[in-house]
């Protein structure tokens, strides 16, 4: 360290100049190369049926916990956000900590699959996957962890299969009281939004529309995100993560039309889940009937599922062993990126490990 007065300022100026040069060099690399596709850990496809894909990830340690973990992705995005980059993969982290990981992900639904409803996911795809996991692992029970809409599907499954093989239930940023959904409530107001006409015309809920709606929740953040990227072009780790997450967001999937119709009408507009009036396949969905250990992980700065929407879920669950953990971060940075590595992942492992033996 220099003793000369003002040397610190000179050092900082030098750093700023070096970063400016690096920005120019790496900026060309950025513009001239494609983004990384994501998905880095070795996995095997166990089952595939239309939009449903069930994967098992290869173990990374010789001794694992007894209970396998099935992670359920949201229907709106690919699952590689769980396995983003080497060193920034939740799947890799859990594998190294000795968990046996299965992932249920969804691909772009075909036109025939536009008829899919919650019944198909909750009473068919998830139970089928759990059976496949049990057969593959040789274990009778399984833990479920769902992200966002995947959390909602896992929640519905747990409420409707209280005598099933579920050992633990983990939800990440899962909405519950949709009357607090802010702008979403206003945009989907039946006075102005005709869900039936919309679905009957478009068939599938277009991904561009979902991305635009999310952008409208923070209208200038895309601009400031680009400025922030330029500012950090010298930082390879930042750029790598940002590109991977941007690509993941751009890979948003369309939703089956009937699923969107059912979600919009019954869950968002009528708030039937929170009001205890939701029925799936003619059976009431009562989250109070869930008695397995339950963890809800929410993000302090989540603008897609704000805390107000998720807050009352843990209180509604019937389990005695239940917990809500609020962590710094947003909807995506809760599960992926440098912050998640330090914050959420160790907490998830610490909660899950003693309940998986």
């Amino acid at each position: 360290m220099s003793d000369a007065p003002g040397a610190a300022q000179i050092d900082r100026l030098r750093t700023a100049m070096e970063r400016a040069v690096q920005r120019n060099i790496k900026g060309w690399d950025y513009l001239s190369s494609p983004g990384k596709a994501g998905g880095v850990s070795r996995r095997e496809l166990l089952a595939k049926r239309g939009t449903m894909n069930l994967y098992h990830y290869d173990h990374m340690v010789e001794e694992i916990y007894r209970t396998p973990l099935l992670m359920v992705m949201a229907t709106s995005n690919p699952s590689y956000v769980f396995d983003l980059l080497p060193g920034q993969s939740l799947v890799e982290f859990l594998l190294r900590r000795g968990h046996d990981i299965y992932v249920l992900e969804w691909t772009k639904p075909s036109r025939e699959e536009n008829r899919l409803r919650f019944e198909d996911y909750v009473l068919d795809f998830i139970p089928t996957s759990i059976e496949a996991v049990a057969k593959h692992s040789g274990e009778a029970d399984v833990s479920l962890a769902g992200y966002c809409m995947g959390g909602l599907l896992s929640l519905f499954y747990a409420a409707l299969h209280t005598d099933g093989p579920l050992r633990n239930l983990v939800c990440f940023t899962t909405p519950f009281n949709f009357s607090k959904f802010g702008a979403w409530n206003v945009w989907s107001d039946p006075k102005y939004f005709d869900v039936d006409h919309f679905v009957d015309t478009v068939g599938q809920f277009p991904p561009e529309m979902f991305v635009a709606a999310v952008d409208m929740l923070r209208p200038v953040s895309r601009v400031t995100g680009a400025v922030q990227l330029w500012d950090n072009l010298w930082n390879d780790e930042f750029v790598k993560t940002k590109r991977a997450l941007d690509k993941w967001a751009a890979d948003t999937l369309p939703l089956p039309g009937e699923l969107f119709r059912q979600a919009a009408k019954e869950i968002i507009i009528a708030n039937k889940l929170y009001e205890g009036q939701l029925e799936i396949g003619g059976r009431p969905v009562d989250v109070g009937a869930i008695e397995v250990p339950f963890l809800h992980v929410v993000a302090e700065h989540d603008h897609i599922v704000p805390y107000e929407v998720a807050r009352e879920l843990v209180g509604g669950i019937g389990s005695t062993d239940k917990e809500e953990i609020m962590l710094k971060g947003g909807h995506v940075s809760l599960i992926a990126g440098a912050g998640a590595v330090k914050r959420m992942w160790p907490k998830l492992d610490a909660w899950l490990a003693p309940r998986s033996i």
Partner: protein, 119 residues
């Protein structure tokens, strides 16, 4: 957050963050209003009507020229997808294994660090 005192870009970053927060708050106040929802949905309804009319016109034109429409190609793609899935299922039922030895099965006896074994 950047150290604004010593970093030549620090003040600029702080200002940018403040502007982002304020601009997002101001704009979401507008987009969260009923008037915005009414106009946005009205525009979408017009767009859907136009889209429907356009799709119908293109469909008619393609039929006239005896050419497959996007729907026809998508239906064909769906059917191919179903055939692929059935082939995968048939191969799986025959017990076709990937080349190389099967991965070794891990022991399911792990306990969390610090917990006694055999409890």
């Amino acid at each position: 957050m950047a150290d604004a005192a010593g970093d030549p870009f620090g003040m600029w970053r702080t200002l940018m963050q403040q502007w982002e927060t304020q601009a997002n708050a101001a704009l979401t106040e507008i987009t969260g209003k009923e008037e915005f929802s009414r106009e946005m949905n009205r525009l979408m309804a017009v767009s859907l009507r136009l889209q429907g009319a356009f799709n119908e016109a293109v469909e008619k034109a393609l039929t006239t020229f005896n050419m497959p429409s996007k729907d026809d190609v998508a239906r064909l793609s769906d059917r191919l997808g179903v055939i692929e899935t059935k082939l995968d299922a048939l191969l799986a039922a025959r017990g076709t294994a990937p080349p190389g030895p099967p991965p070794a099965r891990a022991k399911r006896t792990r306990v969390p660090p610090g917990e006694a074994r055999g409890r």
